[in-house]
Amino acid sequence: MSVFIIRRLMQSALVVVIMSFIVFSGVFLVGDPVEILVSDDADQEEREMMIKSMGLDKPFLVQYGIFISKAIRGDLGDSFVFQEPALLLILDRMPATMELAVVALLIAIVFGIPLGVWAGLKPESLASKSIMTGSILGFSLPTFWVGIMMILLFAVVLGWLPSTGRGDVQIILGMPISVFSWDGFSHVLMPAVNLALFKLSMVIRLARAGTREVMHQDYIKFARAKGLKEQRIILVHVLKNILIPVVTVLGLEFGGLVAFSVVTETVFAWPGMGKLLIDSIGLLDRPIIVAYLMIIVFLFVLINLLVDICYSILDPRVRLQDIKS
């Protein structure tokens, strides 16, 4: 087991290093930071001083080396625009994004599983067919357009929900959270539903496929033969067995939710790190772009590592195969 974990840790570290190189060299080509930072009427001497003080006169590989050695110490550079450490700026926005992603995930689970099970139990009924057509729509609809339509309907025409921002926040366990007040909740609702739509369709499809498969298994027939109530069969025997694939996929997809919140946050002006990224791209604020991408790479590698380790605990074959190869 520990051999497996150590191997995977080393692989993950390698991926982080490779990705840091790709990200750094990619963003290195973007814009000219001197143009942004130096005022227009600065003379040549001031410009050169600026370039020197930022280390932009050094060769690319040296700059990368400096970046890495600083990054290991937790310093991803200062934002050109805010003049503050980029890492702190992003970490400051992170709770908002995480809150949005968690609420969206909950919506996908709470609505997706019952709808999917229903569609799986009665595949021929009209309700099930509408659920499945709806899920195709959920896959097809471009998230950002649905967001705009939601704003148009609920904020402009009906005026029920606010269209932008985060509303009241309360400090809970040291993190600003907005779901627990009515004002905050009304702000979270639309973006969270918007972000959840895609995953919701996925959960419905997974739950339906799982239910249809499980219903033909012998243990369901046995439970029926024992004379158990239909309710108990569905809630205990079916649900337990379809949850495994659903939970696995959702675990993997949580990172996807965080990444896709870039779009939802832009539509609803939600003050999370995705909005910060898009704003920084517009302002050519290199350090923030690099820091955001590094955090996301780290997050994804971490999620994949955890999933791999969980798998190897649940299914020893994975572990053995890996050691053999």
């Binding site: 896959f139 950002f144 705009i148």
Partner: protein
């Protein structure tokens, strides 16, 4: 499509002489009414996109005729030059109908173009990986694994931040995002097909590796590729729209549907709904139609579900 039919032909010719594979494929496909509707919708949309210069009432790129005085007219109002803007005009005074037809052209072009290039690259790498096996296989698949563990939208975003705006750059970004899906799919199928007798006999005949790979292995692996290809094109169109919405991808001078929606977003709070709503509906109809056809193709081309 023809390759899929050839594929089925080889399997069925022996015992089903009366029913040609083409007819069988068509009748299977047509069993789902929605898929047929989807197919004809795509056909109509493609026609409109190809014929854009002849159909569109005005030329949205012609700066001489586009006038700012026409900007944000409501649907049905008359423009300065006398033509009625049936779906209104956008912030720059472009007639929405024309802008959408041209936008559709760009969205479809970028989606299909990037899908086909990615398919070519994916097929080459996937086949090579499956046929060569060993070290080459594990290196390629490691790359594919790592790439697929990051969400498409972020990979495309980073690429476009680096590359800048434009049709070519958007296509490059979408190709990089998509090739791995094709490579993984075809490798999976090819690994199974490789063990079949016809490959063995081709090897015994002393045919060259390239010939076996592209003339024997490839045609038998195409059915799943058609399904993945259809779904990926829908995905690419949606992704391009999203990137354009975020201000990357297509430039303001050549607006795709996503860019048009993005332009309209500024005016949505003041109730000028048409600039965002109509291009969105066009986008939605396109993507849903492609997905409906893809969904049906998956059922029809899947040998496990065949009666």
């Amino acid at each position: 499509m023809t390759t899929a039919e050839n594929n089925m032909e080889s399997e069925e010719k022996g015992y089903e002489g009366v029913q040609t594979p083409l007819r069988r494929f068509l009748s299977d496909f047509c069993e789902a009414k929605l898929a047929v509707v989807g197919f004809f919708t795509i056909l109509a949309i493609a026609l409109v996109a190809i014929m854009a210069p002849f159909i569109a009432p005005t030329d949205p790129y012609d700066l001489a005729t586009v006038s700012v005085l026409d900007s944000r007219l409501a649907p049905g109002e008359a423009m300065m030059n006398g033509t009625t803007a049936h779906l209104g005009t956008d912030g720059a005074g472009r007639d929405m109908v024309s802008a959408m037809i041209y936008g559709l052209r760009i969205s479809l072009g970028v989606g299909i173009g990037s899908g086909l290039i990615a398919m070519l690259i994916g097929i080459s790498f996937g086949l090579l990986s499956a046929y060569a096996g060993g070290k080459i296989d594990s290196i390629f698949m490691r790359i594919v694994d790592i790439q697929l563990s990051f969400p498409a939208i972020l990979v495309a975003l980073v690429l476009l931040v680096t590359l800048g705006k434009g049709v070519d750059k958007t296509i490059i970004a979408l190709v990089v995002v998509q090739w791995a899906y094709y490579a993984r799919t075809i490798r999976g199928t090819a690994l199974v097909e490789r063990r079949r007798e016809y490959i063995e006999s081709a090897v015994c005949l002393g045919l060259s590796k390239n010939r076996i790979m592209f003339r024997h292995l490839l045609p038998n692996c195409l059915a799943p590729m058609i399904v993945v290809g259809t779904m990926q094109i829908a995905h690419a169109i949606s992704l391009e729209a999203t990137l354009s919405f975020l201000g990357l991808g297509m430039p303001q001078t050549e607006p795709s549907l996503g860019r048009l929606i993005s332009n309209g977003f500024e005016y949505i709070l003041s109730g000028k709904y048409w600039i965002s709503v109509y291009p969105g509906i066009a986008l939605l109809v396109t993507i849903v139609s492609i997905n409906l056809v893809g969904d049906r193709l998956r059922d029809v081309l899947n040998p496990r579900l065949q009666k």
